[in-house]
C-alpha cells in the first residue's frame, strides 16, 4: 500500500516541524504549509493529499475555517482535521461530533490544542480508515 499523504497547515513553525517529523516516522508523506495563504497555494497547485490537518487561527482568527471550506470544495470527501487552541479563550466553542455541526464546521474532527501526538495520530488513523 502506498504511503498516505497528509497536508499540514499551521502558523506555528514548531508545531509543523514536530508533527511532520512524527508523522513521517510513522510512515506518512507530509506536505507542510505555514499559514492559510500557503495552504491555498498548495491547493491551487493541485498538490495531492489524503487528509488535511489545519490550525484554526493563523493569519486571521478564522483562517482554518476558511481553508477548511476551500479544501471541502476542491477535494470533496478528503477528511479534514481541525486543531485549535482558541476555543476556551474566545468562548467560541464548537465540535464536529454531530451531522448538524459538521455542516457548518468544515471538519470531520476537532482537536483542542495543545494536542498530544498519540491523540492526533489516532484521529488520523480513524479518519483515513473510513
Amino acid at each position: 500500500m502506498p504511503a498516505k499523504t497528509i497536508l499540514l497547515v499551521d502558523d506555528d513553525p514548531d508545531f509543523l516541524e514536530q508533527t511532520a517529523i512524527r508523522l513521517k516516522a510513522d510512515g506518512f508523506e507530509v506536505v507542510t504549509a505555514e499559514g492559510q495563504a500557503r495552504g491555498e497555494a498548495l491547493l491551487a497547485a493541485g498538490t495531492a493529499f489524503d487528509l488535511a490537518i489545519l490550525d484554526l487561527m493563523m493569519e486571521n482568527p478564522d483562517s482554518g475555517f476558511v481553508l477548511g471550506h476551500r479544501v471541502r470544495r476542491a477535494r470533496p470527501g478528503t477528511p479534514v482535521l481541525l486543531v485549535t487552541g482558541v476555543t476556551g479563550e474566545t468562548g467560541l466553542e464548537f465540535d464536529a461530533a454531530t451531522t448538524e455541526e459538521r455542516r457548518w464546521v468544515p471538519a470531520d474532527a476537532v482537536l483542542p490544542k495543545p494536542v498530544r501526538y498519540e491523540q492526533l495520530k489516532s484521529e488520523v488513523d480513524r479518519l483515513l480508515a473510513r
Binding site: 506555528d12 508545531f15 516541524e17 517529523i21 505555514e34 479563550e89 490544542k113 495543545p114 498530544r116 501526538y117
Partner: protein
C-alpha cells in the same frame, strides 16, 4: 438628560399625588459628574401592587410608606432583600421614631421622610438619593471594568504561555520517544527551538513583572540627577553583544551631556527594550544609530535601525499590549508583545511620549521625548 424612575408606594392617594405634583418638573443636576436627571413616576397603592411594579419595571428609587394595610413597608423591604432586589429606598413615615429608623436602616433603607413633608424637603431627599445612586453606579462600573481588564490580561497571558509550553513539551517527547534515532546530534534543531521558545517565555515573564511594577506604582523609584547620554552609552555597550553574531553595528552619535532628574533603571529599561528590538528586527550587517539630544527642555532619545520596517497600519497599533506584528519577516522572531507598551508607559511616567516612524524594508526610528531636562 437621563431619567430616574421613581415608584411612589402609599395607600393614601393624596400623598401619591402630592409627591408627583411636587417633583414633576424637578431635575437633579450633578455638575460634578456632568449629569442631569429628570424623574418619571409610577404609583402603587399597596405593597402587593408595589411588588408587581418592581418586578415589571425595575424602578431606580422607591418612596415607600412605612405603615400600610396588607404588606407593610417593612415587609416589602424584607421581601425585596430576600429576593436580592436592590433598590434605593426612602421610607415615608408619620412616626419618625428611633425604632422605625433602626428597623428601616437594618433593611437597607437609604433615608427618611417624615409626614407631613414640604416640597423642599422632598426635593432635598430626592437629590441626595439620586446623587448616591449615580456615584454608586459609577463605582460599580469602574470595579467591573477593572475586573474585566484583569481577567482579559490573565487569559491573554495564559494563551501566550500555552503555545511555547506545548512546543517545548512536544520537542522533549520527540526525544523521549527517540523519534530521530539514538544519536543526540540528530536533535540539535529541536533542542535549539526549545531553547528559543523557553527564552521567549522567560522574556514574557520578566516583561510582565516590569509592567506590573510600573502599573502598581509600587516600585520604589530612585529619581536622581543623571546624564542620559552616559546611561545610553552603557546600554549601547551592552547591546553590541546582541548584534555581534549577525554583524549588526550599534553606535551612539556624539553630542553634549543630557542631564535630567530620572530613575536610572527606568531609562535603561526604555533603552534596552528599544535596542533589543532594533537588533531583532534588523537585517544582517545592518546598523543601529542611537541619538541623545536636548530639545525644548526635553531629552530626546532616537533609536534608528536599518531593519524590516513596518507599514503605517502596523505602526498605528504597535504600542498596544501583546501586539506583535505578524508577517513573513517576523515569523521566526520571538517577542512577548509587551516591550513597547512598557516603553510607552515609562515615557508617560515622565510626562513624555514614545513615537515611531517607519518605512518597510528600509528601517524604523523610535523617538522617546522625556520632558524635564535639567
Amino acid at each position: 438628560m437621563d431619567t430616574l424612575r421613581v415608584l411612589v408606594v402609599d395607600d393614601e392617594a393624596g400623598i401619591r399625588m402630592a409627591v408627583e405634583r411636587a417633583l414633576r418638573t424637578f431635575t437633579v443636576r450633578l455638575p460634578d459628574v456632568g449629569r442631569e436627571f429628570g424623574l418619571a413616576f409610577e404609583q402603587a397603592a399597596s405593597g402587593e401592587e408595589a411588588l408587581e411594579a418592581i418586578r415589571t419595571s425595575a424602578p431606580d428609587i422607591l418612596l415607600l410608606d412605612y405603615k400600610m394595610p396588607g404588606i407593610s413597608g417593612l415587609d416589602l423591604m424584607d421581601r425585596l432583600h430576600a429576593d436580592g432586589v436592590e433598590i434605593l429606598t426612602i421610607v415615608i413615615t408619620a412616626y419618625a421614631s428611633l425604632e422605625t429608623a433602626v428597623a428601616a436602616t437594618k433593611r437597607g433603607g437609604f433615608d427618611f421622610l417624615a409626614k407631613p413633608f414640604s416640597p423642599d424637603e422632598l426635593k432635598s431627599v430626592l437629590f441626595k438619593a439620586a446623587k448616591h445612586l449615580v456615584v454608586q453606579r459609577e463605582a460599580r462600573r469602574l470595579a467591573e471594568e477593572r475586573k474585566r481588564v484583569r481577567f482579559e490580561l490573565l487569559s491573554v497571558v495564559a494563551h501566550e504561555m500555552k503555545a511555547p509550553t506545548a512546543a517545548i513539551e512536544n520537542y522533549l517527547r520527540m526525544m523521549q520517544d527517540r523519534v530521530l534515532g539514538e544519536e543526540l546530534s540528530a536533535y540539535d534543531h529541536p533542542i535549539q527551538r526549545a531553547i528559543v521558545r523557553l527564552e521567549g517565555m522567560r522574556k514574557l515573564v520578566s516583561d510582565l513583572l516590569d509592567l506590573t511594577r510600573i502599573e502598581s506604582g509600587r516600585k520604589t523609584r530612585t529619581v536622581v540627577g543623571l546624564d542620559v547620554r552616559e546611561v545610553a552609552a552603557g546600554c549601547v555597550e551592552n547591546a553590541r553583544e546582541l548584534g555581534m553574531d549577525r554583524g549588526i553595528t550599534i553606535d551612539l552619535a556624539p553630542g553634549e551631556a543630557a542631564p535630567m532628574q530620572a530613575d536610572r533603571g527606568e531609562i535603561e529599561l526604555i533603552l534596552n527594550n528599544l535596542l533589543s528590538n532594533a537588533v531583532k528586527y534588523n537585517r544582517d550587517h545592518g546598523r543601529v544609530d542611537v541619538g541623545v539630544a536636548r530639545r525644548d527642555g526635553a531629552v530626546v532619545l532616537t533609536i534608528a535601525d536599518t531593519g524590516i520596517g513596518m507599514t503605517a497600519e502596523e505602526c498605528g497599533r504597535l504600542f498596544g499590549e501583546f501586539v506583535r506584528i505578524k508577517n513573513d519577516k517576523t515569523r521566526m522572531i520571538e517577542g512577548s508583545g509587551l516591550g513597547l507598551s512598557i516603553v510607552q508607559r515609562l515615557a508617560h511616567l515622565y510626562g513624555g511620549e514614545a513615537t515611531v516612524a517607519s518605512t518597510p524594508d528600509v528601517g524604523t526610528t523610535f523617538t522617546v521625548t522625556l520632558p524635564g531636562a535639567a
